[in-house]
C-alpha cells in the first residue's frame, strides 16, 4: 500500500497544493517586512479567484483571467493600505473587514452576474507547460518518470511561484529596495530620516501582497479547480500567514514552509482514496492542514522573531 501512496503524483500534488499558499505567504512576507500586518490575504485571494473566473468566463482567455485576478487583488489591497497606512486603523481589524467584504462582494456579484449562489460554470483549467513523454526503459527510465512527474508536469503559475520566491528573496536581501523594505518594518523613523517615504514604501509592499494573493486565487480557480465556489479559499490565507512565520519572514522560507503544508494536503487527499483500508473518517484527514498549522506555530514561535515595527501605524512627527 505504501508504494501506492508514495508516487511521483503525491509529490507533484504537494507542489500544486503549496502554490497558492506560497504566493500568499510571500505576499504576507513582503507586507509584514514593511511593517503592515495582512490578515486579509484570505479575502484578497478570494477576490482574485472570483474575478479570474469572471473574466475567463467572459473572454474565454485564461491569461486575461490571471491578469484580472492580480489586478483585483491589488485593488482590494489598496483599501487595506489606505485604512492601515493613511487612516492608521488597527491593521488586524481592517484585514478582518476586507475578509468579510470579500465574502460579501464575491457572493453579491455572483448572484448579480449569474443569478445564483454557490458555484460558477466551469472555466476549464490551464494545461501543463511541458508535455514530455514517459519512458519505460529500465532504471534511468524510472528516474526520468519521477522527475517528469514531480517537476515537469505543472501549470504556469506553479513555476511562476518558484521564480517569484527566488526573485523576491534576492530583491529583499540584495537590493536597495529590499534594504528599505526591511528597515520600514524594523525602524520606520530611521527610513524617514534618510529621506525615504514610509507611506510610499508601505503602500507598494501592501499592493504587492495583494497582487500575489490575487495570483494565488487565480491558481486556485484557473489551474486547480476550474470554477469558483463561494468561500473556496477555506482558511488558506491564514495558513499562508503561518507559513510566512514558519519561513522566518523570508520568501524562500515561506515557499518551503508552504511545501510542508502542501504536502500535508496532498497526503490527506491521497489517503482518502484508501479510506476503505485505513478506516478513519474523512473529516480527520481534512483537519490535517489546520492541525499541522497549529503544531508548527506552537513549535516555531519564540525562536522566530518578526519585524519589530509590524502592526504599528507610522505617524510622521
Amino acid at each position: 500500500m505504501l508504494g501506492d501512496i508514495i508516487t511521483p503524483d503525491l509529490f507533484a500534488s504537494a507542489l500544486r497544493m503549496a502554490t497558492p499558499l506560497a504566493l500568499a505567504a510571500i505576499g504576507g512576507t513582503i507586507c509584514e517586512r514593511s511593517g503592515v500586518v495582512n490578515i486579509a490575504l484570505e479575502g484578497m485571494m478570494l477576490v482574485g479567484a472570483f474575478f479570474g473566473t469572471v473574466i475567463t468566463l467572459a473572454t474565454g482567455n485564461a491569461w486575461l483571467g490571471i491578469i484580472a485576478a492580480v489586478v483585483s487583488g491589488v485593488a482590494v489591497s489598496a483599501i487595506h493600505a489606505f485604512a492601515s497606512i493613511n487612516l492608521r486603523s488597527d491593521q488586524v481589524v481592517s484585514g478582518t473587514a476586507i475578509n468579510i467584504l470579500a465574502l460579501g462582494v464575491t457572493g453579491f456579484m455572483m448572484e448579480r452576474l449569474y443569478g445564483h449562489p454557490g458555484t460558477t460554470d466551469p472555466t476549464g483549467t490551464l494545461g501543463p507547460v511541458f508535455k514530455f513523454a514517459m519512458s519505460d526503459d529500465g532504471f534511468f527510465g524510472t528516474i526520468w518518470n519521477w522527475i517528469n512527474g514531480i517537476f515537469l508536469s505543472h501549470t504556469p503559475i506553479v513555476y511562476m511561484a518558484i521564480i517569484i520566491a527566488i526573485v523576491a528573496q534576492w530583491a529583499m536581501f540584495r537590493t536597495r529596495w529590499g534594504l528599505h523594505l526591511r528597515a520600514l518594518g524594523e525602524h520606520p523613523r530611521a527610513v524617514d530620516t534618510v529621506g525615504v517615504s514610509v507611506i510610499r514604501g508601505r503602500w507598494i509592499a501592501v499592493l504587492m501582497s495583494g497582487g500575489l494573493a490575487g495570483l494565488a486565487g487565480a491558481n486556485l480557480t484557473l489551474e486547480q479547480v476550474g470554477s469558483f465556489t463561494e468561500n473556496m479559499t477555506n482558511g488558506r490565507g491564514f495558513i499562508a500567514l503561518a507559513a510566512n512565520i514558519f519561513g522566518h519572514w523570508t520568501p524562500v522560507g515561506s515557499y518551503l514552509a508552504s511545501l510542508l503544508f502542501g504536502f500535508a494536503d496532498a497526503l490527506q487527499i491521497k489517503l482518502q482514496i484508501f479510506r476503505g483500508e485505513i478506516n478513519i473518517p474523512p473529516q480527520f484527514f481534512l483537519m490535517l492542514p489546520y492541525v499541522l498549522t497549529v503544531v508548527v506555530l506552537a513549535g516555531v514561535i519564540g525562536r522566530a522573531v518578526g519585524p519589530a515595527a509590524v502592526g504599528k501605524p507610522y505617524e510622521k512627527e
Partner: protein, 375 residues
Amino acid sequence: MSETRETLPAQKAWMSVAQKVGIPLASVVLAIIVGSVIMWTSGYDPVAAFAALFKGSFGGPKQIGDTLLRSTPLILTGLALAYGFRANLFNIGAEGQLFMGGLAVAWLGVAVTGLPWIIMVPMLLLASMLAGAAWAFVPAILKARVGAHEVITTMMFSYIARYIVSWLVVGPLKAPGQIPQTVALPTGAQLPRIQTLFGESTLDALPFLNLGRTHLGIVVALVAALFVWFILKYTTLGYENRAVGFNPWASETGGISVQWTTVKALCISGAFAGLAGAVEVMGVHYRIFDQFSSGFGFTGIAVALLAKNHPLGVIPAAILFGGLTAGAGTMQLEAGVPQKIILIIQALVIFFVAAEEIFKWFIKRRQKEALSHAG
C-alpha cells in the same frame, strides 16, 4: 499630575459622548450610504431594498421576534469578542467555540435524562460555557507561553471544530434517518419560546408579546451582558483584563501576571461564544448539524467593534445586525437584492468604526474652518 487628573474627566466625558455613540452611529449611516451606492450601481433600488429590509426586521411583533431571535447569539458572540478585545486579544475563532458549545449541549441534553427543567437548563448552559472555554484553552496557552498569534490559532481551531461536528453528525451522534443531524433535545432541555409562556388571553391583550420564534435565550443573553459589564467594571478580574489590554508592560510591573490574564481572557471569551452555541441549539434547532450557525461568531466581530467593546453597547449593536439578517430575506424577495449585501454592509461598518481618523480629521477640519472664520 494633579492638573491632568482634573482636566481628564471633562475631556473624557466629551469624548465618550462623541466617540462612543457618535462614531458608531456615523459609521452605520455611512455604511448604509455606501451600501446604497453599491446597490444602485448594480441596478437595484436601494430605497425599496431598505424599506423591505425594515419591514422584514421591525415591521411587526413577529418580525421583531425574528430580529431578536438572530440578535440572541449575536449578543453573546459580541460579548465574547468584546471581552477579548478589552485584553487586546482578537478571538477571531469564536465560531469554533460556538460549535463546541452547541455540540456539548446537543450531546448532554440527550444523554442526561431524568433531571427537572430548572436544573437541566442551567447545567446545559454551564456545560456549553465550559466547552467553549476548553476550545479556546489551547490557543490561549499558546498565546501566553510562546506568543502564537491567536488570530491564526483560533481560526485553525474553528476549522477543526467544524470538521469534528460534521464527523459526529454523520457518525457516532447521528440521529436515525437520512439527515445528518443529532437526535432532538427533549422539551425538558429546551429554551421555550417567549410567547408560549403567556396564555391566549394575555397575548390577545398584549399583542406585542407575540414575538414569534424568540425564545428565553434572549433573557440569557441580556443577563450575560449585564454580568460582563459588572465583571469589567467592578471586579479585580475585569480590572486586570482591562489593564493588560491597555498596557501589558505596566500591568506586569504592577504585579499582574500578563500570561495568566491572557489565558483567562481568551477562555472567558470562548465561554460566551460557547453559550451562543447553546442558545441556538436549545432555543432554535434543538439539535446540532453542519450549518446550524450562520456565521454568528464572525458577525460577533462587527458587533463588538460597533459597540466599542462595551458590554451593554453590544445589545443595540447585536439588534442592528440581527435586524439586518432577519430582514435580508424580505429584501431579496421584494426588492430582488442578493442577501450578501448584508455582509458588505457589515464589512463597511467595521471599516468606518476602525477608521476613526476619518471622523477625527473631519472634526479637526471643521474646527479649523470655524477658527479661520472667527479670525
